[in-house]
Symmetry: C2
Subunit: 320 residues, 2 copies
Amino acid sequence: MANIKDIAKMANVSVTTVSRVLNNHPYVSQEKRNAVLQAIEKSNYQKNYNAVHLSTGKTFLIGVVLPYSNHPYFGLLVEGIANEALTLNYNIVLIQTNYDKNRELEALDMLKHKQIDALIICSRICDWDTLKHYSSYGSITLCEDTRGRNLSSTFIDHYESFFTALEFLASKGHSKIGYCIGRTSGTNSTQRESAYRDFLQKYNHPYEVHYIFNNCLFLEDGEQVIKEIKKMTDPPTAILVTSDQVAAGMVTCCHKENISIPNKLALIGFDNQPIAKLMAITTMEIPLVQMGRNLVIQATNSKDTTYDQFKSRLIERETV
Amino acid sequence: MANIKDIAKMANVSVTTVSRVLNNHPYVSQEKRNAVLQAIEKSNYQKNYNAVHLSTGKTFLIGVVLPYSNHPYFGLLVEGIANEALTLNYNIVLIQTNYDKNRELEALDMLKHKQIDALIICSRICDWDTLKHYSSYGSITLCEDTRGRNLSSTFIDHYESFFTALEFLASKGHSKIGYCIGRTSGTNSTQRESAYRDFLQKYNHPYEVHYIFNNCLFLEDGEQVIKEIKKMTDPPTAILVTSDQVAAGMVTCCHKENISIPNKLALIGFDNQPIAKLMAITTMEIPLVQMGRNLVIQATNSKDTTYDQFKSRLIERETV
DNA sequence: CTGTTAGCGCATTCAT
DNA sequence: ATGAATGCGCTAACAG
């Protein structure tokens, strides 16, 4: 395959001139430009981007770290990320970790190794020190509140969001409220737990450990939760479900088990996924696609650290 | 940041020797090796992979072309792709096309430009000539029957699969059968249409155009279909739904509209997604995760062209 | 076992 | 407006 040197020879110019027309630089006479263009045409020349990358030190690649690619939450996030990346002429390297810390570290190493220009971590496992260390090699952007940590982020105030949802349930007369969550670690989960505890304290409700369900990520997990609730002698009357997927699983299961929603059990999902609309699930909307877009903008603006908070919003439907 | 030359100097050896220990080549004395290792340690040296890529002409990157990243079908496929890529030490570049042909061409250009070693096209729009042209730049693997086209692929015999499903419905006494599909173009869709026509002919049923619903991809589309069916004076009694998502939307909608399933309307989904299990949807299972893994194996085996057919399987549940 | 040397293909500074 | 020369960091053929 022809390279820039060949083109130079064919067009009777220097490689510099070829490079100039290739990159639309000024100061090239029309004739030489044409000559180069013709040579390119004739030889079916194609830039070798590895050479460009080595020479410029940039790859126009953004790494995206996420645990699962088949979860609708990340699906929407990636949707936004991919679209914005496209408009900014970046490409996306998908790094699926299955929540394995080593894979997250490998992703960080890619930053070190200059395989990618920036990293977006949609769900973090690493500690902050590690992250800060790696951020010297390239921009790292997170999807959780990082204020005070000097790393850019796009996030929801999950404390406020959770509290809002809880207050809504309280206003409907619920006092025995539980919640489902994907994992208990992580900033987002911690914020939610604080909101939950503060809420209980405010209303003087007891903290019932078995009202909290961990590892709730997929549809099937919703089924599991309902089964557990059925076994309880004093079950919750309402549940905050941090994923519409899981909420949908619960609704379907309740249907089968003849548990009336919202009379017997009230549900508030999160995200406002299509399934929530279809199944008329009351939910806290989270603008995932926009957040995805924003993440890319931050990741490519490596100069300044920004903390962009997005708003969630209660969408009342029929499960409360 | 230190480079291989610096290390060579520090360790008092040549760059070749450094390269040798870096790449675990034999023929390096233990002392020199140690010296190099120490220098690497001390200087916090990191390989620059762009240089490696330029020098070796490989990137260990596989491009994955798909229309939407938030569709469960592709979610599962990518799940498999990402996992196998990991084990083979490849990374994935996600290219979301939204079915825009230009983006598919851009992906093909990445192959030309050596930004990626191979390309997996999960859902194709390009014509075969274009594809064949680009395949000279790197391996292209498809997710549809490509036999006779000299391009590797992992696929389902959608003709057989569709026919099986149709026969099952016939055995249950259905004669007015329709189907929903994502798009009418593409090998997979064509195969299904042939099966459908052959089936009608076999049983001497008329071809009713309005029994075929196009653009059915997401949950919401299922709702739409049901609405259309409700308007019909002579509606189908059974429908093949090429996506469990859409089938789930239909089931939910029928529930709302008090259309009894399977009595009034029978449904067969495709994929066997978790939602199909949860909602007890009869479905044709497609081993998407395994297929994803296989695609990567083919993509990285650029030597020989292979056509790997996977089996689909009817899973009887409660919608027929 | 080890080092010298020549690329890989392009960008860019500096001189003209 | 143009080109020569240098560098980006690493690999690998070749010589010893």
